[in-house]
C-alpha cells in the first residue's frame, strides 16, 4: 500500500514535469503543423535565463521567495524574445514546404541556439538551488519529498488550466481552434493567419522556457540539456497524439506513472520505459491516444 502511494506521488511529480516541458511542442504542432525541434533549445534558454537571474537575485540578498517570481520573469523574457524572432525570422519562410524540410529547418535553429547559449552563458554549470532549498521537505508516507517538486506540480496544473481556459473561453483561443481544424476556411472567414501563427509560436516558446526555468533549480544547468528534453517531449506528445493538449496531459500521466512503477519495481527497465510506452501505444494507435485521422492525399 505504502509502495503504491510512493509510486503514485513519484509518478505524478514526474508527469507534471513532463507535461510542462512537452505541452508547448504539441501546441505549436497543432496550429503550425511543424514539429519544432528547437523546442529543446528553448527549454535550455529558459533554464539558463531563469538560473542566471536567480543566481544574480540571490547574490543581491533580496527577499528569498521572490526568486520564484524571478524564474517566471526569466521564462517569459526568454520565450517572448526568442519565439517571435524564430517564427518571423526563419520558420515562416518554410510554410507550405515538405514536412521533412521544415523539420530540418527547426533542426538548424536548434543547432544555432545550442551554440548561442554557450556563447551567451559560457560552458560552466549554473547552480540555482536557492528556490529548491527555500521550500524544504514534505513528509508523505514516511518518505521526505522536496517541496519544490510539488511546486512544479502546481505550476503544471496552472499551465494546464490556463491553456484550457485560453482555448475554450477566450475569443483568440477559439480562433486558434478554428485554425487547427481548417486553416483555409479560417482565412476565408477573415482570420489573420500570420498573427495566429506568431502568437502560437511565442506561446509555445514561453511554455518551453517555463519548463526550463522551473527545472533549473533541480539540476545543474549545463550545455546539452535541451536534447534529452526534445526526445522526451516528443515521446509524450506522440503517446497523447500530436497537436492535442489533452493528449499531452494524458501522455505525460501515463509515462510518468509507468516510469515511477518501473523505478520501484523493475529498476533495469527505467531507461526504456518511455520508449516502451511509446512503442506500445503506437503499435495499437499509430496516431497516439488522442490523434486525429487525416485524409490521404491521392
Amino acid at each position: 500500500m505504502n509502495q503504491l502511494l510512493i509510486i503514485a506521488v513519484d509518478g505524478l511529480v514526474f508527469a507534471s514535469w513532463l507535461f510542462l516541458v512537452s505541452v508547448g511542442l504539441s501546441l505549436i504542432y497543432g496550429v503550425l503543423r511543424i514539429l519544432n525541434i528547437a523546442h529543446g533549445s528553448l527549454f535550455a534558454v529558459g533554464a539558463y535565463a531563469g538560473a542566471s537571474l536567480v543566481v544574480a537575485y540571490s547574490a543581491a540578498g533580496l527577499w528569498p521567495p521572490g526568486a520564484l517570481g524571478v524564474l517566471l520573469v526569466g521564462a517569459l523574457a526568454a520565450g517572448l524574445v526568442a519565439g517571435p524572432l524564430i517564427e518571423r525570422g526563419i520558420v515562416r519562410w518554410t510554410y507550405g514546404r515538405e514536412p521533412v524540410m521544415q523539420l530540418l529547418v527547426t533542426f538548424s535553429v536548434f543547432l544555432i541556439l545550442e551554440d548561442l547559449t554557450k556563447l551567451v552563458w559560457g560552458v560552466s554549470p549554473y547552480y540555482a538551488y536557492q528556490p529548491y532549498q527555500l521550500l524544504g521537505q514534505v513528509r508523505i508516507g514516511g518518505i521526505d519529498y522536496p517541496a519544490y517538486s510539488f511546486l512544479v506540480l502546481l505550476v503544471a496544473a496552472l499551465v494546464g488550466a490556463g491553456l484550457w481556459w485560453f482555448v475554450r473561453r477566450t475569443r483568440f483561443g477559439r480562433v486558434v481552434v478554428a485554425v487547427i481544424h481548417d486553416p483555409e476556411i479560417s482565412v476565408a472567414m477573415g482570420v489573420n493567419l500570420s498573427r495566429v501563427y506568431v502568437t502560437t509560436f511565442a506561446l509555445g516558446s514561453v511554455l518551453a522556457a517555463l519548463g526550463g526555468a522551473f527545472t533549473a533549480p533541480m539540476i545543474s544547468v549545463v550545455p546539452g540539456i535541451g536534447v534529452e528534453v526534445i526526445v522526451l517531449a516528443f515521446a509524450v506528445v506522440v503517446v497523447g497524439g500530436l497537436g492535442s493538449l489533452e493528449g499531452a496531459a494524458v501522455g505525460a500521466l501515463l509515462i510518468g506513472l509507468v516510469r515511477a512503477a518501473a523505478v520501484h519495481l523493475l529498476p533495469v527497465l527505467e531507461l526504456f520505459t518511455i520508449y516502451l510506452v511509446m512503442a506500445a501505444v503506437l503499435l495499437v494507435r499509430p496516431l497516439g491516444l488522442f490523434g486525429r485521422v487525416e485524409a490521404r492525399r491521392i
Partner: protein, 314 residues
C-alpha cells in the same frame, strides 16, 4: 548511374589510390575518416530519396563500430576482412528489427522514432559500464589484412585503402540500387505513396528494403570509422553524429552518389580547421549553413554544377 558516372567513379578511385601514396600522412588519415563518414552519409541519402529523414543513423553507425570492438576484445579477431562484414551484418540485423517498427512511419514520426532508438542505444552504451566501458569506450587494436600484421604508417595506409575499396563498393551498390526498380519505386514513394500503392507496388516492402540498405551502409561507415580511429565511444550513437550525417546529406544533395561523398570530404576538411579556431561556434555555423542551403539551394551545393552539366548535355 550512367556510363559517365561509372567512368568518373573509376577515375576517382585511381586518384584516391594515388593520393594515398603522395599525400602527407595526416591528410590520408583525414581522407579515410571522410570516406567512412561519406559511406554513412550515403545511408541517409538512400532514405532521403524515399522521402524519409533519419536522425538516428548513429544507431547503426555505433552498433557496427562496437560490434568490431567486441569481436576484437572477446574473440581476438583482428582480421579486417572478417571484422567489416561481421559489423555490417550486426547493423543490418539491428536494422531488420528496428525496421519492423519504424518503417511503418513517415515524416516526423520516422525522424523522431529513429532519434529515440539511437538515444536508447546511447543510454545503454553509457550505463552498461562492465560490457561497453561506459563513456570511456573500447580501444580497437590495429587490424590485420589477410593475416598480414602491419604497424605505424603502413597500418594507417592499409586502413585507408580498405576505406577506399569499401567506399567504391558502397557507391557502386547505391548507384545500382538507385537505377533498379526498388530504387525508382522508393523515389516514387517520396512523391506520392498512395499512388504507388494503387499501382500495385508493395510500399511497405520498398521502404523496409531502403531501411535495410541504409542500416548496412551506416554500419559499414561505423566499422570503417572504428578501424580508422582505433577507438569507439558512446558518442558515435549520440544525436550529434546522426545530425551531422543529415547535414552532409543536405550539403551534398540527394540526387547523386558522388555529391554526398564529396560533401563528406569537404565537410571533414573544413571541420578539422574550424574546430580548432571556433569550438563553440561550430554547430552554429553548421546550422546557419544548413538553413541557407535549405532556403536557397534545396538541391544541395552540387545542384548548380549539375544544372550546368545537364544544360551542356542538352
Amino acid at each position: 548511374m550512367n556510363a559517365r558516372g561509372g567512368g568518373l567513379g573509376v577515375l576517382l578511385v585511381v586518384a584516391l589510390v594515388m593520393a594515398g601514396l603522395v599525400l602527407p600522412r595526416w591528410l590520408v588519415f583525414l581522407l579515410a575518416l571522410a570516406l567512412a563518414k561519406g559511406v554513412a552519409v550515403l545511408s541517409v541519402v538512400v532514405l532521403m530519396r524515399a522521402g524519409l529523414v533519419s536522425f538516428g543513423q548513429g544507431l547503426f553507425f555505433a552498433s557496427a563500430a562496437y560490434a568490431a570492438g567486441f569481436a576484437m576484445r572477446w574473440w581476438g579477431v583482428r582480421e579486417a576482412l572478417l571484422l567489416v562484414p561481421w559489423s555490417v551484418a550486426v547493423a543490418v540485423g539491428l536494422g531488420a528489427l528496428a525496421g519492423l517498427l519504424v518503417a511503418r512511419y513517415r515524416d516526423i514520426f520516422f525522424a523522431m522514432l529513429t532519434l529515440a532508438l539511437s538515444m536508447v542505444l546511447y543510454g545503454v552504451l553509457i550505463k552498461a559500464y562492465g560490457v561497453t566501458g561506459g563513456s570511456d569506450g573500447i580501444r580497437i587494436p590495429t587490424p590485420t589484412l589477410l593475416g598480414l600484421q602491419l604497424s605505424g604508417d603502413d597500418a594507417r595506409l592499409l586502413v585507408y585503402y580498405l576505406a577506399v575499396a569499401a567506399t567504391a563498393a558502397a557507391a557502386w551498390a547505391v548507384g545500382r540500387y538507385a537505377a533498379a526498380p526498388a530504387g525508382y519505386l522508393a523515389h516514387a514513394v517520396r512523391d506520392n505513396e498512395v499512388r504507388v500503392a494503387y499501382l500495385g507496388a508493395p510500399v511497405s516492402r520498398i521502404v523496409y528494403a531502403a531501411f535495410l540498405l541504409s542500416s548496412g551502409l551506416a554500419g559499414l561507415g561505423g566499422a570503417l570509422t572504428a578501424l580508422n580511429v582505433g577507438h569507439v565511444d558512446p558518442g558515435l550513437a549520440y544525436w550529434t553524429t546522426s545530425g551531422e550525417l543529415v547535414f552532409i546529406a543536405v550539403l551534398g544533395g540527394t540526387g547523386t552518389v558522388l555529391g554526398p561523398l564529396a560533401g563528406a570530404v569537404v565537410y571533414e576538411l573544413i571541420r578539422s580547421y574550424a574546430f580548432k579556431y571556433a569550438p563553440y561556434a561550430w554547430q552554429m555555423l553548421v546550422g546557419a549553413a544548413m538553413l541557407l542551403i535549405i532556403l536557397f539551394l534545396p538541391g544541395g551545393l552540387w545542384s548548380p554544377v549539375e544544372r550546368v552539366w545537364r544544360r551542356q548535355q542538352a
